[in-house]
């Protein structure tokens, strides 16, 4: 029964992405990207990824959209038509997509409980985290403890982004002298 929801959601996502890609108005495209990440948040929910969905809803639909609007407000909100040849990009995209589809042919079936990822490392987290960490949310246990170092890296990434943006733009209060 959730197959129907799957298909409906995925087709919504497809339409949104297609429209976002085709749209000349950058503003419209940004809005549609917001919708797209919102839909993917819904899709994550259906796949039981509550935390991911939470993050995607907050980041994709919130912060990313605001930042993109901030950029558009400083630049231009209309895309120009380019007269590039589209053949090479199309070729690259088709080859990449083809390789990926070739790869899906031997993938474990969608939601197959016997797939390797459900039998190898993950059971440890599910079975032992209650006793070892004592935190109900397994995602938090894995994120902060079992793979805590990844999360340290993640914080470092966001810190890097902060440093980078500060390096590029300077902070906050507008200064009348440029900070080139």
């Amino acid at each position: 029964m959730s197959t129907l929801i799957d298909i409906l959601l995925l087709s919504l996502m497809g339409i949104t992405a297609l429209a976002a890609v085709r749209m000349k108005s950058l503003f419209g495209a940004v809005m549609l990207t917001g919708i797209f990440s919102l839909l993917s948040a819904l899709w994550f929910l259906i796949l039981d990824a509550v935390d991911v969905s939470f993050t995607e809803a907050a980041v994709g639909a919130g912060i990313s959209t605001v930042l993109m609007l901030g950029t558009l407000s400083l630049t231009k909100s209309e895309e120009k038509t380019s007269n590039h040849s589209q053949i090479i990009p199309l070729f690259v995209v088709f080859v990449t997509g083809g390789v990926l589809i070739y790869g899906t042919l031997d993938m474990p079936d969608f939601a197959d409980p016997l797939a390797p990822i459900h039998t190898h490392v993950a059971p440890h987290y599910i079975e032992k985290s209650g006793a070892e960490i004592g935190v109900p949310n397994i995602v938090t246990s894995v994120l902060a403890s079992y793979r805590g170092f990844d999360t340290l890296g993640e914080v470092t990434v966001i810190f890097t982004a902060g440093v980078g943006v500060l390096l590029l733009l300077g902070i906050g209060r507008r200064r009348e002298d440029g900070d080139e």
């Binding site: 907050a58 935190v135 938090t140 810190f159 906050g172 080139e180």
Partner: protein, 163 residues
Amino acid sequence: MTHHFILRVITKLLIPLILLFALYVQFHGDFGPGGGFQAGVIIAAALVLYALVFGLNTASAVIKEWVLLVLIPLGVLIYAGVGVASLLLGGNYLDYNVLAHDPVHGQHLGILLVELGVGMTVAAVLTTIFFAFAGRGHRDANGNLLPHSALSDEIRNRKDGQP
């Protein structure tokens, strides 16, 4: 048109609630969905809302630049510092078991601190990034700020390209 008090009143009403919800998310990441990152994003969203409605100057008077610049590294330092603490207490890096007498307690304490660091850095970084974008203003190639009146009509009165 001089008063946009609806937005102001509603924002005043909402911001404490949003912040409260964010901190709830921060501290209940153990039990349900959420955690430091999500909380940080929501806090940043609340501050962005404040800056949008009350103006960037007001916002950066409330949340000073130096505060943000302290919070950003502090979060990372808290996270990395928990790891160093566990090193000093004789465990491996980021081994929270040694932080308290009882491993489960240690884990709990470690996760709490670590998530706090994450939330701090994320909230501060995202707010800073927004301030940086909003405070940038329109500049010419030499980096000089253009006054609002010098902006092209295209920017001042945005119209959609679609018919």
